[in-house]
Symmetry: C2
Subunit: 213 residues, 2 copies
């Protein structure tokens, strides 16, 4: 035998490389993250990252997993710090937005694995599910208490999509300059909460569109 790295040592080195990768992403942008640059910044040789990551896509997957773990951890303390379910859900959204705006590259990576990899990585699916499970707790409570009209499994994705869509529109430059991001965000929140349809008027003029509502 020889000095085979323990699983723990290996994980530590891997985590360290991920940390370096994150620093590059944050300070120099997505295009600056190159395996060679990563190795240089980590003080190792060019191809050493391949000992810990199958390929570059695998490294990016690890970064995404790290991001979701971080968000999940933040949400845990949010649950502790906020008393009511509705407040918790609100704080989730605010925290999500804050993280995204502060770490745009990291955030966008969580939605772009398909750019670099064909199939969705199972590790990412796992942490996402953990994340969603945590979010579902106060949503379920709010639903049980009668404050929300939809249970978590039907509301979670919708709210997530709305927030992410706002951010995407913001970053892609598809928003008119005069539109203040905060203003649009406020509208989004109001519309999600109460809708943009004038119930009575639409029921009157489009009865077929209102079956059930």
């Amino acid at each position: 035998m020889s000095r085979t790295l323990s699983e723990e040592q290996r994980a530590r080195k891997k985590a360290e490389l991920v940390a370096v990768a994150i620093e590059i992403l944050e300070t120099e942008g997505f295009n600056a993250l190159t395996l060679r640059r990563l190795a240089a910044k980590a003080g190792i040789s060019r191809t050493t990252p391949y000992l810990y990551f199958k390929d570059k896509a695998d490294l990016l997957v690890a970064v995404c997993v790290n991001t979701f773990r971080f968000l999940t951890e933040q949400c845990r303390t949010i649950i502790e710090d906020n008393p009511t379910p509705v407040q918790q859900v609100t704080a989730f959204g605010e925290n999500y937005l804050k993280f995204a705006l502060k770490n745009p590259v990291l955030y966008q990576l969580t939605f772009a694995p398909e750019t670099t990899r064909e199939e969705v990585a199972p590790e990412v699916m796992e942490v996402v599910e953990e994340y969603n499970t945590l979010l579902a707790v106060p949503m379920q409570q709010a639903y049980d208490a009668g404050h929300f009209l939809y249970p978590p499994d039907r509301l979670n994705a919708v709210l997530w999509a709305a927030l992410h869509g706002m951010l995407s529109l913001h970053w892609s430059g598809h928003l008119a300059e005069e539109d203040q991001f905060d203003q649009i965000l406020a509208d989004m929140r109001n519309i999600l909460a109460f809708g943009f349809i004038n119930r009575d008027k639409v029921r009157e003029d489009y009865p077929d569109l209102m079956s059930g509502n």
Copy 2:
């Protein structure tokens, strides 16, 4: 003098290259689009695309512009084919989704110029504005008729963000498998239309959250 290409010839060749690029993107994916591959498929030499596009990012911008022009044109016929503003807006959304699901790579490109280019391309901004201006017409009419609670400048971005967010979540694999995309989409539509908050109950228990509503 010699045979300088007319502006029209130049535009035609440019458009032809864009068409080839689109075909590569659609049939082989984003990563397959390389300038050399483009040239080969177009039957020209490696660096000839540089005569028509400043660099690769410039080519991608041209593809995006093409996409928005196409969507805008489709929306024009939608306005013609649907009688009422509310139906037109609904058809806009359905058409947008249909295009996105049928042309995922092309669609995703319209939201990812920042990956390849730092600043947002002014050409893209221009066609996006044209697109939004067209969408705003029936929205304004629906607002004037009292069917919508928000004017176009406050509603357009919110609806766009919601649709795009749904698609992103769908493609990124962040949706649980059991969630049917169509089911979530239906929920999204209902929530956007009428909200997910139980007005009465929340007003009762969270009066501070409901100021104004």
